[in-house]
Symmetry: C2
């Protein structure tokens, strides 16, 4: 993503600035709560402050900005909550009973750095704390909690993870792959766009439009990721297939091959980008958001 | 508990009726959401509908009634959310990495009936769904989410579970035991009283008073539980200590012996009962709530 964003230096600078802002708010959010046992606090910090592109908080902030919102501070708070939910999902996903990963962004995963029980609790704690934070955004707490909880819940992200697990060894269909990607990935790309719109005071229709754009962009993001995974691996010394394809993961590449998957990423991406363009007033903030949204899927070309 | 409650037949009937009502709302809440993968939905049902006294939802409902609230339907919704959070905590607590329990209320625990990954996700799903439900209570969604998320979060229940784990092999102090019991147990007894008060339209001071009463009653409940655990076991064929004491759990019995622990349960219980009495107008609904609250700790005598 960063390679693309760096083609525009104003956007690039803005991205660096806003990431720094988000990073500082993430630190502050974990320091603010008294009474958290030391080991739990350290495990939460290990995973939440362990790097990452902060893609979802930036999307939320820039969606807010692109719709001429005037509640940047609240958007930052909501972005912190969103990153906490994303981080909890990574911690639980990495557990031995799930994907059993030892490394994440080049560092030990939470259960390796601490222990399994602490990792389960650190994930639970981040998820719960996210809703506590969101609930206190003046006037919009209930709406924001509702959107994020629906996106992350059993008919959203958690459901996608369950279907992902259940899909191992099952014959894939495009309906199934699409449903898994919607749940696992797209709902948590759509949520920041919808939350940013709500904070910007957008009407119901615009919020739904932003959410719809986000779902398409999320599907494109996941498809592009699968393509990258597959092509990176075949380019490397003698490996015959991508890690995810080898692990029997439900990907477009596995279902229909590299080229069709690439075309699919582009198709979803263009649809999302067009929906988005129809909702924004032209200007630098809209350009920033569109730039970031293209970078989600153009990586694959 | 039921032995005590049955000494008053009107209260007893009310309890049976309200439990039936809660049971029916729990069923409905899990059927209402489309798009939940089948295996995940079954795991959530297995644990949420697997019996239980529904103590926390009844406390919430009766606190609402005792303060002359007129929002019973919303109190039932909040009670369902609360029971979902309680159930999630049991599912995660029972995992092999945590307490490693195979049985809960005479049935297989979630990870035994399904598998570990599904149990982790079912817990995550119930927690997230609880906040989605609460957020939609008209006008009070944000307040209710805030109270429950604080009670269940890293400075509350999850923190208590972490300290419980970390306490194994550590020398106990009364400060530590009290803090663990507050987090693990009392916060989720205080939350229903505070939530019921908020739904009844009580003022800030009354809500804080109900919460304070709940913390004391929660401490009494846990102390009484430890006493029961220890005395039941010593009464049974040749066992020398309670299960929890043997497992090195932080209990009052382990720290200061059976008699002092019994006195402590009574002291906390009376303090909570008195605080509560000062907040309620006399009448049948207040009597029901006081009856239930005494039953939390009088079991030990």
């Amino acid at each position: 993503m960063s390679a693309h964003v760096s083609t525009n230096s104003a956007t690039d600078q803005r991205l660096a600035d806003d990431r720094a802002l988000i990073e500082s708010r993430l630190h502050a959010a974990l320091s603010a709560e008294p009474g958290v046992p030391d080991r739990l606090a350290r495990a939460m910090r290990h995973s939440l402050l362990g790097g990452g592109k902060r893609l979802r908080p930036v999307l939320l902030l820039w969606a807010h900005d692109a719709l001429a919102g005037a509640r940047r501070e609240d958007a930052l708070t909501a972005g912190v909550a969103l990153e906490m939910v994303h981080t909890y999902s990574l911690i639980h996903d990495d557990l031995p009973a799930m994907d059993d990963d030892d490394l994440r962004r080049g560092r030990a995963t939470c259960h390796v750095a601490f222990d399994e029980a602490t990792a389960i609790l650190a994930g639970d704690a981040l998820l719960t704390r996210a809703f506590a934070l969101l609930s206190r955004v003046p006037g919009l707490g209930a709406d924001l909690v509702g959107i994020l909880a629906d996106a992350a819940g059993p008919a959203g992200m958690v459901g996608g993870q369950q279907e992902d697990l259940d899909a191992e060894g099952v014959e894939l269909t495009s309906d199934l792959v699409r449903r898994i990607h919607l749940g696992k990935t797209a709902r948590l790309i759509a949520a920041p766009l919808a939350m940013g719109a709500i904070l910007a005071g957008a009407d119901r229709k615009a919020v739904a439009g932003m959410e719809q754009a986000g779902l398409m962009l999320g599907l494109a993001f996941q498809a592009a990721d699968d393509v990258l995974d597959a092509s990176a691996d075949s380019a490397t010394l003698g490996k015959t297939a991508g890690k995810d394809a080898a692990a029997g993961k439900p990907t477009w590449v596995r279902l229909e091959g590299l080229e069709k998957a690439q075309a699919r990423a582009r198709r979803y991406g263009l649809e999302g980008t067009e929906t988005l363009a129809g909702l924004l007033k032209p200007g630098p903030a809209a350009e920033n958001l569109q730039f970031l949204c293209r970078a989600l899927w153009e990586r694959s070309r």
